[in-house]
Symmetry: C2
Subunit: 552 residues, 2 copies
């Protein structure tokens, strides 16, 4: 006899879904019970749903296949929504399994009753389905997995009523193959090749799945051959980086700066990316960042074959044999003295091991991270794709589960860390090789900047206290200890470097709390030089204009 949950479990592992990040409740108990029937399924418990969904996101970014989440009705899904939003914006495959009341119980409007489908549609517009019967449940699951895996990847939600799960009559379903992506058609490739040959200033904006070695090398050939500038979207889902790979400059978060990066670009070619817009709107500033005179071409849509399309384009312009320019190996040196956010990034750049996974949710504090790690040993970097903070620690959990042999280093702001701090417990329980570095500047630093950018700089004390994390200052090391994670507070660059070396030597999770008190003007002082240094190609005239505009 096989119940629905047991058949579902078999269907999942047969389709390669072998990890479930779970936070179950009563309606999920049969799914939980079925875990023991299926040795190939690993269940990782999270103490908050946002950790489970963010872990599934991080897992899929590194494993290139979906994990399942297991969530408790509409409220569990609600708690997981922010990180599912990030997965959706990052085009990451995730399979949500959301338990529901038994079908016949719904009409009684019991306490936990809510409209799950509506909430789910927000993050998985392409696939939301409530399983109607035990017999058809596994087919629903196979279709949900195929939907999640359909290029470019998406969140799919399967709602599992308790009686569909517990009833007998389950039949496992075979995996369904997602459609094979096609390359860009000949006419598109030819039109873009012609545009490139025109000699106009051209940039290639790469996003989504294009920031992996094969596609990056292909794009770098185009750059070497045709003088095309390579840019990456602001918040890549996953970007392969480091010595021996092409260096691709990311578009800046600050619209003011992104506008500068796009100055004089006459043709923008999109590769699994959107034409850039500002993150937020600001009074009197433009949202759409592409210059008015710039023509936008889409070479590869998100559901197309990126590498094949780039190869076709290289053939068309004759760049196939070009020699791509690669990033030379270069470490930034060991930091010394009083600790600053830059020195934390420098320590990471200097000391990060081979093959690391870097999770970047340091917000203002990690602005220098990309520069400091550009020539470090080869690594992957994953970033805040949807802007919903609280992604970093859960992403680190998922990445470490996906890649147990690779060290994960997560750089996290203090404000952001607090949204999903419960992730530390899962790191301890699973003994994951994650080093979490928390920048403790006791402030929502970015909001101090945004307050001015939106023109509300005359804010008084009450307003400023809303951006201030003092009174009390959080002790993250103590919190981590409370969740079973080895932790240390560091106040100097030397301590920082030593703590990072120790963490890389000793298996299991570590937390390093980098105490970097600083004022708003300190943040601004940091940002301006970063802007100027991190864009070596910036024309001098622009640098000067920028300096006037952004000086403290």
């Amino acid at each position: 006899m096989t119940n629905g949950a047991q058949a579902l479990m078999k269907t999942l592992v047969d389709a390669g879904v072998e990890v479930c990040f779970s936070n179950p409740g009563t309606s999920e108990m049969h799914f939980v019970a079925a875990l023991d029937d299926e040795p190939k399924m690993r269940a990782v418990l999270a103490l908050f749903e946002g950790v489970a969904t963010g872990a599934a996101d991080g897992y899929a970014r590194m494993a290139d296949k979906p994990a399942a989440t297991l969530l408790h009705l509409g409220c569990g899904l609600g708690n997981g929504l922010a990180n599912l939003h990030n997965a959706r914006k990052g085009k990451v495959p995730v399979l949500n399994i959301v338990g529901d009341h038994a079908t016949y119980h719904v009409k009684y409007d019991a306490q936990l009753q809510s409209d799950i489908e509506t909430v789910a549609r927000n993050v998985s517009p392409g696939f939301v389905r409530t399983a109607k019967s035990t017999e058809t449940l596994s087919q629903d699951a196979a279709e949900a997995i195929a939907a999640a895996r359909t290029a470019p990847g998406q969140v799919a939600t399967l709602i599992l009523p308790a009686d569909v799960s517990w009833s007998e009559g389950g039949v496992p379903s075979a995996p369904l193959a997602p459609p094979t992506p096609e390359p860009a058609d000949d006419a598109t490739v030819e039109a873009i090749a012609k545009a490139i040959r025109s000699g106009k200033k051209t940039a290639l904006l790469m996003g989504g799945h294009s920031l992996r070695e094969p596609s990056m090398l292909a794009a770098a050939k185009l750059a070497a051959h045709g003088g095309v500038t390579l840019l990456a979207e602001t918040f890549p889902t996953r970007i392969e980086r480091g010595a021996g790979l092409p260096y691709i400059e990311r578009l800046a978060y600050l619209a003011e700066l992104a506008t500068v990066q796009l100055t004089d670009v006459e043709q923008l070619i999109l590769v699994d990316a959107k034409a850039p817009v500002s993150f937020f709107a600001y009074p009197g500033k433009k949202s759409y960042l592409v210059p008015d005179t710039c023509q936008v071409h889409t070479l590869v849509a998100p559901d197309q074959d990126i590498l094949a399309s780039l190869n076709k384009l290289n053939d068309a312009v004759g760049a196939s044999q070009a020699e791509p320019k690669l990033q030379p190996a270069k470490r930034p040196g060991r930091p010394r003295g009083k600790l600053t956010a830059e020195k934390v990034c420098k320590a990471v750049g200097e000391l990060m091991p081979e093959n690391a996974i870097i999770v970047d949710e340091g917000i203002t504090s990690s602005l220098m991270l990309s520069v400091m790690t550009a020539g470090a040993p080869r690594h992957d970097m994953i970033t805040l794709t949807g802007g919903a903070i609280g992604q970093g620690l859960p992403n680190a959990v998922g990445a470490a589960v996906a890649c147990p042999d690779r060290p994960v280093i997560a750089l996290i702001g203090d404000g952001t860390a607090m949204y999903t701090i419960q992730a530390l417990w899962t790191m301890a329980r699973e003994q994951l090789n994650v080093t979490s570095i928390i920048f403790n500047n006791a402030s929502y630093s970015v909001l101090n900047i945004e307050l001015e950018r939106v023109g509300a700089e005359e804010a008084g004390e009450k307003a400023k206290s809303q951006l201030d994390l003092r009174g009390p200052v959080i002790n993250f090391a103590e919190m981590a200890n409370g969740m079973g994670v080895h932790a240390v507070r560091v106040h100097t660059a030397e301590e920082m470097a030593k703590a990072l070396e120790y963490a890389q030597r000793m298996p299991g999770p570590h937390l390093i709390e980098a105490v970097i008190p600083e004022s708003l003007s300190g943040v601004k002082r940091r940002i301006l030089p970063w802007m100027l240094r991190s864009l070596p190609s910036l024309p001098l005239s622009v640098s000067k204009a920028l300096k006037r505009k952004l000086a403290p």
Copy 2:
């Protein structure tokens, strides 16, 4: 010159909305800046949106008027959804202010773009509105507040685009009065009076706003006169209790037990309550708990005047002069020896001060709380209305802000505490008089019971590990210290009592971590005697049947 945010702020305080529980982002910066223009508005920062929404819920339960939340776009609302669900189910007035992108920015589908209205509709079906212009914003707000305050109370959501907030031309609006509730009509009252006079066994099920002194006294007169049994819904939004008030037995969470409480009831009269259904469905068990032969009458619908309706009924049956039976003063005695969950509840019953607010989210560990505090000094108790755990600590924040002169004691399970643990920081920052008692049994104890109740008791090790919070066991005292809250771990009943006395003596927040390791069979051993003891009226035959059914 008045911008939208400034006009909105004035509209809020003029309508009595004087507290805003906030977790702002860039799109909310003008609202934040406007805080300093309005001395009457208190802004309380939360480090996670679920804390802000749960605090607004707790505030309104005690203040009997809404607070505002300030949330950052759809993802901020998502993070706050679970506690808004609890507020919705508890019919609690809450005004959500959800910032959104500028109206003209929406079309660009920037990173944080999502469908806010759809998410909001789930928790505020009665009022969701996106403000369209600065000129009409304040009128929208006045209508939203009136909607929130319309009996019985609801969550209302006002979505505030950044440009509507920052543009000049705001005009404050005067408060709008919500409609006045009407009492039950004469025909309904007469029909119910006739039913009571029939002599059939009758119970009054009281919920919502009926569990306050005036209505409870009116119902107690009816009980004294006509032999009507008084029952309260399982999870009251707020119930006034203690010595000198009528004791009203709550319907049990366990459907098996609630069924027993309703056995032989021939007529059930609803007072701002729903006919009882089981919390979850269980294989082979009924969802609807009212006996087949029982007739259900609605005396007071949620939008009606409860006290006036009860008074009319009392007049009709001649109970107006009856002498209500009141709970005598009685403390349970000081607990001694090895610490158990019951002894924690006993310590609270023995030592709680006058006029306390008790927040009960202890799940299995606080089953004895009602019994232990029944004869304590008068107090309010607020409970988990919607079943979405993570409500207790935020509710305590809100209750303490609403009633700064009343001590708040929150009893919280370890599993539930972790959903919104960030609430501790807000308690520290605002120096709230909250004593949080965390029952640390290192388990999702209730799920161990539910696993059996849904018939999945053959669960193996992997399944059981999903319900187990060991490896590592959380140290809540350390976590609390990390957030600036004075904390202590207690292992004996004597230490527990001493810690509680200390906490009541010293102002500001305290956390007491009650370490009560216990096995599943321990939980079951505890539950059975509780069931039998807490329902003194239970017929012996039923006790015996129950003992057979539920014995470990």
